[in-house]
């Protein structure tokens, strides 16, 4: 079974973000794998352990994404494709999906896994668009995957605590939900092995994709507050006393 996992590098979860023009200040950020993509990688590695085959990490991003790719290899991906091009940042979701589709096409995988959304842009559609471009079946917000005959059976999350099992043929694209399994750590041996694993580097012109964006961000800014919040200041003890007073005399809940 051949599985491609599309991963993205995003600013670390607890980063202090500063809006600047139509994006954010990137200079002092630390970067990490998009959390849902880490779960997609985990699912791929578990599928390979059970069914055999190969896991290929696929990442479009500038030079810095190399650390995220190395980490995926250290966790157990067999090899990687890095679409290393500063132009990647200027593409919209459709452009990114076109680039990824080109790279996937030449691999002819059985499955393409990716996280259900990115923690930065949060469009939640790269996987679905990729499926359309490749002509593959797809399913989204997936909790678990089982191989069944020549196809797969997935557990899809619905809203409000409901789930549904769906049978799909392969090849297919699945978007994986966060928290669907326990993430593994890279072992020392894994980190050592990763150094000798193949990383194929491609540029946008190698792939012949030059997509003009169909949507563009004109401004990024701090959201307006929908409520006026009373901030309670002081030492923890003082804050606690103030809050209890509010709860008793304003909210009348204690």
């Amino acid at each position: 079974m051949k599985i491609v996992v599309a991963i993205k590098q995003v600013p670390a979860r607890d980063s202090l973000l500063r809006a600047e023009g139509s994006w954010i200040q990137e200079a002092d950020l630390t970067w990490e794998i998009n959390e849902p993509d880490a779960y997609a990688l985990e699912s791929a590695l578990q599928l390979r352990e059970k069914n055999g085959g190969e896991v290929i990490a696929l990442c479009a991003g500038p030079e810095r994404a190399t650390t995220t790719i190395r980490e995926a290899l250290a966790k157990g991906a067999d090899r990687a494709i890095h679409i290393a091009d500063d132009g990647v940042d200027k593409l919209d979701t459709l452009g990114i999906a076109r680039v990824l589709a080109k790279a996937v096409e030449s691999e002819k995988p059985d499955l393409v896994l990716t996280g259900l959304q990115s923690d930065d842009l949060g469009y939640g559609q790269t996987g679905v668009v990729l499926a359309e471009l490749l002509g593959y079946a797809h399913s989204t917000i997936i909790m678990s995957v089982e191989v069944e005959g020549s196809g797969i059976r997935v557990k899809r999350e619905l809203e409000g605590g409901w789930y549904q099992n769906i049978a799909l043929p392969m090849p297919a694209v699945l978007t994986i939900q966060s928290g669907s399994s326990k993430l593994r750590y890279a072992t020392l041996m894994g980190i050592k092995k990763a150094k000798s694993k193949e990383v194929r580097t491609l540029s946008l012109s190698d792939l012949g994709v030059s997509a003009d964006p169909v949507a563009r961000i004109s401004r990024v800014y701090l959201p307006h507050k929908s409520k006026s919040t009373q901030m309670l200041e002081g030492s923890p003890k003082e804050q606690a006393a103030k809050l209890v007073e509010k709860l008793r005399f304003e909210v009348r809940a204690l």
Binding site: Y123, E159, G160, W162, Q164, V214, I217, Q230, K237
Partner: protein, 330 residues
């Protein structure tokens, strides 16, 4: 030119967000001076379509056919695609539901464009103007104004709670309902869906709780949950959690609040160490009073909070428990 709203229903019941999306379309229509069309997909849906026709809009399309009886992306994508072509809609709006996330991006791709998903506001400057779609970035920490550059059609999905269904404008004359046989080839449906199920019978109903104390990632370790539990018990509140806590098995799934858990509207909701990702907010922003305790002053949870405490929860929570016990004479 028109605005087409693709309503979502299952089992003869509209998803409540369908009406919020219709309200968004009406708001856009009044500025852009465009007619609103609505579409319902399924089988045996005349009744639903005529319910929608009671609102101020131009036309209701009922895409009624056996291939649409049960949701599959392979049936919904061509059905919506051909409707967009047929109506020549300039704007196509969806509620941002799990189902829409599953099929709408494929529809947009077929028109060579993207879906602007999870939109919180559409700003229109007037007739003929180019609308600005407001989206959240970084789990709600920042907002972005996004504009389409091409010729359209433009696809967007509207976030839960962004527009109010109770502001829908009714109409004295019912709109025309047109029943359309969807152009879907049953043989093209590749997936087979089984009946939806729940993991376990839900024993705990948080929806009737008056007071809820809820805990998130900020608690760091399973062992620390008892600290929040002590506060909840002193207050006489139910204990709840955000998704990561339940995913880790630190609290049972039945205590999860958010889009994949329960939707609550208690008198008081106290969010402790919860940053306030939208998936959590949709489950609790209906609470009468929201209290946020978080070390990050820019956490999105403060945007919906009535009272906020910026501080280390490991200092604030024990102090709070002690104070609650003192005033209650416990």
């Amino acid at each position: 030119m028109s605005i087409l709203v693709v309503m979502e229903q299952s089992g003869g019941q509209f998803h409540r967000m369908s009406f919020e999306t219709l309200a968004a379309a009406q708001a856009m229509a009044s500025t852009l001076e465009l007619p609103v069309y609505a579409a319902v997909l399924g089988r045996g849906i005349e009744k639903l379509a005529s319910d929608v026709a009671a609102y101020q809009l131009q036309h209701v399309y009922a895409l009624d056919g056996a291939a649409l009886a049960q949701y599959t992306p392979d049936a919904y994508v061509p059905a919506v695609q051909s409707l967009v072509q047929r109506t020549g809609a300039q704007y196509v709006l969806f509620p941002h539901t799990y189902q829409v996330r599953d099929f709408a991006p494929r529809v947009a791709t077929r028109f060579g464009t993207v879906l602007l998903s999870d939109v919180v506001e559409v700003r229109c400057s007037g007739k003929g103007g180019r609308p600005v779609f407001v989206r959240q970035l970084f789990q709600g920490k920042l907002n972005a104004d996004v504009e389409f550059t091409g010729a359209g059609p433009y696809f967007a999905s509207v976030q839960a709670g962004a527009y109010r269904a109770d502001q829908l404008v009714p109409s004295a004359d019912a709109a025309v309902v047109e029943i359309v046989a969807p152009e879907v080839d049953a043989a093209s449906i590749r997936s087979k869906s089984e009946a939806p199920f729940r993991e376990s019978a839900r024993a705990l109903d948080l929806t009737s709780a008056e007071l809820i104390v809820s805990v998130g990632r900020g608690i760091r370790e399973k062992e620390n949950i008892s600290m929040v539990e002590a506060l909840a018990s002193a207050m006489g509140a139910e204990l709840a959690a955000s998704r990561p806590i339940c995913d880790n098995g630190w609290l049972p799934m039945e205590r999860q609040v958010g889009s994949s858990g329960q939707t609550v509207s208690p008198k008081v909701y106290m969010a402790i160490g919860i940053s306030g990702a939208i998936q959590h907010l949709v489950g609790m922003k209906g609470a009468k009073t929201i209290i946020a305790i978080n070390k990050d002053p820019e956490a999105p949870i403060f945007e919906v909070a009535d009272y906020g405490i910026v501080g280390d929860l490991f200092d604030v929570v024990p102090a709070l428990t002690e104070e609650v016990r003192r005033v209650k004479g416990l």
